[in-house]
Symmetry: D2
């Protein structure tokens, strides 16, 4: 059995990623820690708990850092809706959050299962950075850390230079990237274009005629609209589920390599840029595995399989 810890700023695409993990055979989600990102922590906590209940699962949800280390929080309501879930206004979940702080819960879980837990981060890296500074020993306790974040030698989404998760808390990202954790970076570019769910694929999901399948599309309805109108992309972008697919099914990755990667923290213009030294000109040891290319059909198949077996 593979133990997973998910750190998430749960909005609509996080929800799909959490759903994938909960339904993936042989995987046990030990806990979900919530971080400020797309939405404030109380809202992300609610969305995560609703998603878990909808899946009939019981992973505990721990509320974590309510703001980035140094920067003011910047929410992403415009993309995910005022509730972070496409303004579907889902009912209040039955269970509340666990009482332990998300950062402390993550540390405790890693210490309880040394070497066993795979971390998947789907939001800004504030919780993980705080955990690393409070408990440096966790570096050697994590099996692997999959990070949805960054842009590898390509343009960003929130600014021309940076992807949202890293940009929101660049200092946290820098702490994590230089922590020595075994890590894989799954940039936002991997969910663009062909990797978007297109109309036919969304129709296929809808045709499954299953509450979870509907949920995947419904909670992302604003994301679909904004992605098309604002970003001129073809369909539904699912950065967090792509990263989750990479974590759950390594064969989704078709090209990856390890490099020295660092994060810009001093400039306003390039804040949060993930600088990948692809050609090794900085003469630094590699600290991160960068995914350059995924098998788009396989990642979509993974999502469909999870929903089909519902």
């Amino acid at each position: 059995m593979k133990r997973l810890w998910i750190d998430s700023d749960t909005a609509s695409d996080d929800a799909v990623a959490i759903l994938m993990a909960l339904r993936w055979p042989g995987v046990h989600v030990e806990g979900v820690s919530i971080v400020a990102g797309n939405v404030p922590v109380p809202l992300g906590s609610r969305n995560a708990r609703y998603t878990i209940e909808l899946c009939g699962a019981d992973a505990p949800v721990y509320e974590g850092a309510s703001r980035p280390l140094m920067r003011e929080p910047v929410w992403a309501y415009f993309f995910h809706g005022a509730d972070g879930m496409g303004e579907m206004n889902y009912p209040e979940p039955k269970r509340g959050p666990a009482s332990l702080h998300g950062v402390l819960a993550m540390i405790e879980a890693l210490r309880r299962f040394p070497g066993e837990i795979t971390l998947v981060t789907l939001g800004p890296l504030t919780n993980l950075a705080l955990a690393l500074r409070l408990a440096p020993d966790i570096v050697s306790l994590v099996s692997h850390c999959y990070i949805m974040g960054g842009a590898a030698a390509t343009l960003g989404n929130i600014t021309p230079a940076a992807e949202y998760n890293i940009w929101v808390d660049p200092e946290a990202a820098r702490i994590v990237f230089h922590s020595g954790l075994p890590m894989t970076m799954v940039g936002w570019e991997l969910c663009r274009g062909e990797a978007n769910l297109n109309d036919a694929e969304m129709a296929e999901i809808r045709a499954l005629n299953h509450p979870l399948a509907d949920f995947v599309l419904d909670c992302n309805r604003q994301a679909i609209r904004v992605n098309r109108e604002w970003l001129h992309e073809p369909g539904l972008p699912l950065p967090d589920p792509v990263a989750m697919a990479v974590a759950l099914d390594p064969d989704v990755v078709t090209r990856a390599s390890s490099h020295y990667v660092t994060v810009e923290v001093s400039s306003d213009l390039t804040r949060g840029m993930t600088v990948v030294d692809e050609r090794g000109v900085l003469n630094q040891p590699p600290n991160l595995r960068v995914v350059w290319e995924i098998d788009v059909r396989r990642w979509k198949q993974d999502l469909l399989d999870v929903l089909r077996e519902s």
Copy 2:
């Protein structure tokens, strides 16, 4: 009774400050959290525990953050000696550190005595910054926070622009300065020149013929030498005890005013500078009380009184 929490990178001048607090009438030191600064945490912890035992006190010592948030640690052995205590090689203290992490212990104490605890920070602000990010509620629980750190519109010590404690972890300082805590900044300039203990004053302390009096001078023997030779100052500079005197005896302050104060974090040249908007040109609300001038005789009298009553 006044409850005190001391956060310290315990080297020689911190030791004197801790001693002052432990012996000040009507004050109870709830705990001492150790932070990386002058010396690594295990050494600072040892020095704090030795000092506490020498005073016959039993304040618990909690080990905290082992490095700054973003920067590599920079130790100050050249000033305090390889043991941080003038290379006096004091014996191992009898008690070990408490098991709780310094940051968590500080949070717990503040929550246990809401509104009652006076914080005195004598090192880099890493522990306090982590506490603020883990437990934002503590902002309203602290009675007042006295910070030994910074330089108010004057030159620094570790660089021309910055004082050591702030320079070591400027990001932590920025978090603290903008936290909304009620704070007083006691810059390093307040222990310079006239505020140094001069030869006559050191002779007066030695003449007390008491182990604690000897300790104050002995553990600082390297600091005295370096201060004279390297900084061309007249005697023994005691930044942490000056800050502690300000915290214990408000009348030590003869001029102070509240301003918007922020910390430079993006430039290498001015990293860690405490920028005091003395004239209000930035149009920001004041966030810090800045001490501009102290009663030098009174602060020295406070130190002597504490030793004399030994």
Copy 3:
């Protein structure tokens, strides 16, 4: 007749670009200004004059800025050889440089032929930046400015974030990019991979059996070697000739668009990055035309035609 002004840090690929311009039908090179870049100004001046004489032309060469505005110069001998010309040690040219400073000569030419001169910059933008600050009126006098420099939403060559010409003098580049000049940016990525001259193409050039054809290959012999061994590229990269081809033959460009583009000047990590706001998220008016794609066969044909007609 099209009037051209070339600004160049003349090393081996600049030489090929200058040769293309001198031999292009209907083009008159009014002057060449030399800037510090690949090589110091006296060496660049010598290389430009040698090239011009070899072509039997008489364009005057004016020596310009001997160093970047703010940064220390960084030469590129490792790529172009100690003489900047593949260590071919070509003989001293017969004519010396013109006496006027390169910046003043450029200003004078632009004022003499208002609206007529096409500027092509093949090195750091120091000369042009100085000209803009000394004579702001030239903004409306330039027909168009083609800039070899930058990297559009892709990795750099000298650092992971930046291309050499822009990195060497990022402040100058920022002045130029925000000057209001009509500009086209030809990034280094356009000469990579397929756009390299490959072995077959180099053999074709050699088979022309002409001194100019030999010159094109000979002066670049170190560039070929370094490009293969160090950058793992297939053959000879010719950034300056590609930019010159774009300036001389607009149909070389197959995809270009106008955007807000600015230059990073404050961070060490991302210094000199050309940040292209491809998706308009910064809400700034476009200031630069970015070439995204060229017709690789056409650019090579342009080069061959120029040599064939020798």
Copy 4:
């Protein structure tokens, strides 16, 4: 005879400094170059020419850089009035500016009188920086350069960290400070407090009953008001005349020393700060003489003498 070149953004206090130079025995003002600063170049040019004509002198005025190297210009109308001269609306001067660009005129003068010219800069350092980049040989041609600008280990005026002239064009200041020129920095703090002209001293000047004496006070009438109301200073601050007094009468200086001094250019917060390494911790060779203290009575006497001998 001492040859002077004055570089100025001529507003009210520059005018007094120019007047002092024109009337100082044994001094010949070779030229005045105008730079963007307090006011735009055409207005500064007009004010300089009016002042020169009022003094019955004929020093030529050359218009120079119309904006800082990298930053947008920021005018100081609030301090000097809409005309830069206390809104006295003085008549148009009879002579126009000389036709040569201020930067080129400065270079030409320095080359004409090698080693003889004392430079006095009273505004942002844009002109001098451009001259240094166009003509690096001038470094060895200047006798000495007196710079009104900066703040030595004390607070700034335009921001808490920076003085106006340096803040307006920090990149130019950095170029100048690291140019190797023999330089003396006269910070704005030297004209504060006691060095202000107080009511009695202004009355003494008015009592001279001379057009030049009236001019000194009249053109500064807004400066006096703003200085009192906004800066809570006692009277009329005259930074440029203080710097001019230092240049004309070396004995005005009572304490000065040479240090490594550099200028912050990358941070918004500390932009334009003149970082003086007073204690040598940066281990860099001194590049600037810093004036720490002046003989306040002597500088005022110098001004009065100049007016009295009118």
